[in-house]
């Protein structure tokens, strides 16, 4: 479904993002050009995934894999087909069955040289508010200690299409790409380092709260 995905992004996603949003990306040069790599972004909107994927050239797109909750994106046949074939997600079981290694296929994708998109906050939550990072990403980094994690702070997409709403409203969006980070030797310090990266990127933006 590689061509379908490329056509979907070229004909629908990119024109939509350009007209309705208009994205200003700072430090685009820090984006990984080849895998294995992990993009870790804050999560405010379904548009986050579309935006992050559209940053990559069409030829690379098939290697960009959003890690997405299996219970949400595989909830019915149509959404599952779209998620698996067009968005090309890596489904993740949020509550894995005991005895099953939940990250095996994700590690396999990294070993194959894919670029993963991960939202360490776990869910979109309140629009334009960062929530606490879940430690799942540290587990993954522990198993792939040399893979760079590139933090991306997104602003404005939660205003354009927040959780629980279907009507997109135009706003300019900002993206701040941070310095890459790798496994720090233990989970706590890895999570702290990642949290610090996000806090720094958010501070650089200097955005007022959206109340």
């Amino acid at each position: 479904m590689r061509w379908l995905q490329a056509a979907f992004f070229l004909l629908l996603v990119r024109p939509f993002l350009a007209l309705v949003l208009g994205v200003n990306l700072r430090h685009a040069e820090r984006l990984p050009l080849t895998g294995p790599a992990i993009l870790a972004a804050n999560h405010n909107s379904h548009l986050d995934t579309l935006l992050l994927m559209s940053l990559f050239p069409l030829a690379q797109l098939y290697r960009v894999r959003p890690v997405a909750a299996a219970d949400y994106f595989l909830r019915n046949r149509f959404i599952a087909w779209f998620a698996l074939n067009v968005m090309h997600i890596l489904p993740l079981a949020r509550r894995p069955k005991p005895g099953e290694p939940p990250l095996a296929h994700i590690e396999a994708a990294l070993n194959a040289g894919d670029i993963l998109i991960l939202f360490p906050e776990g869910s979109r939550g309140e629009p334009e508010k960062r929530s606490e990072l879940k430690s799942g990403i540290a587990h993954l980094m522990e198993h792939a200690p040399s893979v760079p994690v590139v933090p991306v702070y997104l602003h404005g997409l939660g205003k354009a299409l927040p959780k629980g709403d279907w009507l997109p409203v135009p706003f300019f969006a900002d993206g701040w790409v941070g310095e890459p980070l790798t496994w720090q030797g233990e989970r706590a310090s890895t999570m702290q380092a990642l949290e610090a990266r996000f806090a720094e990127l958010e501070r650089q933006g200097g955005y007022a709260a959206w109340e």
Binding site: G22, N24, P127, G156, K159, P162, D165, L167, V169, P170, F171, F172, A208, W210, E211
Partner: protein
Amino acid sequence: MPPNLQYALYGILALLVLGTLIIGLKHVFKPGPGDRELWLRMRSWWVMAGLFILAIAVNRQLSIVFFALMSFLALKEYFSIIPTRRADRRVLFWAYLAIPVQYFWVSEAWFGMFIIFIPVYLFLFIPLKMVIVGETQGFLKAAGTLHWGLMTTVFSLSHAAFLLALPDSGSPAAGSAGLLLFLVFLTQFNDVMQFVWGKLAGRRKVIPKVSPGKTVAGFVGGVATTTLVAWLAAPYLTPLVGWQPIAAGLIIGIGGFVGDVTISAIKRDLGIKDSGTLIPGHGGILDRVDSLTYTAPLFFHFVYYLHY
């Protein structure tokens, strides 16, 4: 296309070439740290002038779409830099819908509706939508800022497009497109001339509290140059006669300055330097159309009163 309009477009191309040459020569003989910025700015001038000339050259409808798109980008930028309330998200959607409707009146040349749609109907409708949402915290500020944005980026800018809806017979020299070109060219030329005069001779600041870069020499030199060019170009592009070209030049020169510093005041209020990053070397789209938000309605009503 009327021959005068063609000559004017060639003239604009010649000015762009001249500007590019001056910046190139400056870089060779007197290189400075600001050269890259100047170069980006010049490149953006080529793109903007190219799009504008293309729209004018193709037809009236495309030019109207061009201005509608400009209003949309300007309004989107405005809503993105001002503090909006979460409760008003859908109200903003209705505000955006005003753009296609307003430009529809323009393309239909329905002057009566064009002139009251935003100042009357949307002025009354937007607060109604806000009341239905029901959030009263910050209501007045939100209603005020939303309407100000619509008036500036949609109502004011659409006056430039409405010049095209005026009958060509009112402006025999170059048709109604000649009036539009006269307005847009002189407004942008005035911006550049105020910048150039300010750089060459600027000392005393006009309004340091709002815009520290603006000087008396920049303002006076810019207005004088704009008025001179207005007087020279008016017979070929507009129906203005006698004292009228001088008055039109003053309106565009002074109005452009006021539009510029009004947006500067907003940016200062919000603590930002540029309204966006859409146009390399210039900043955002509001940074580029700020003067037009004043000159378009002022020039339109001046011409409309005298000749239509």
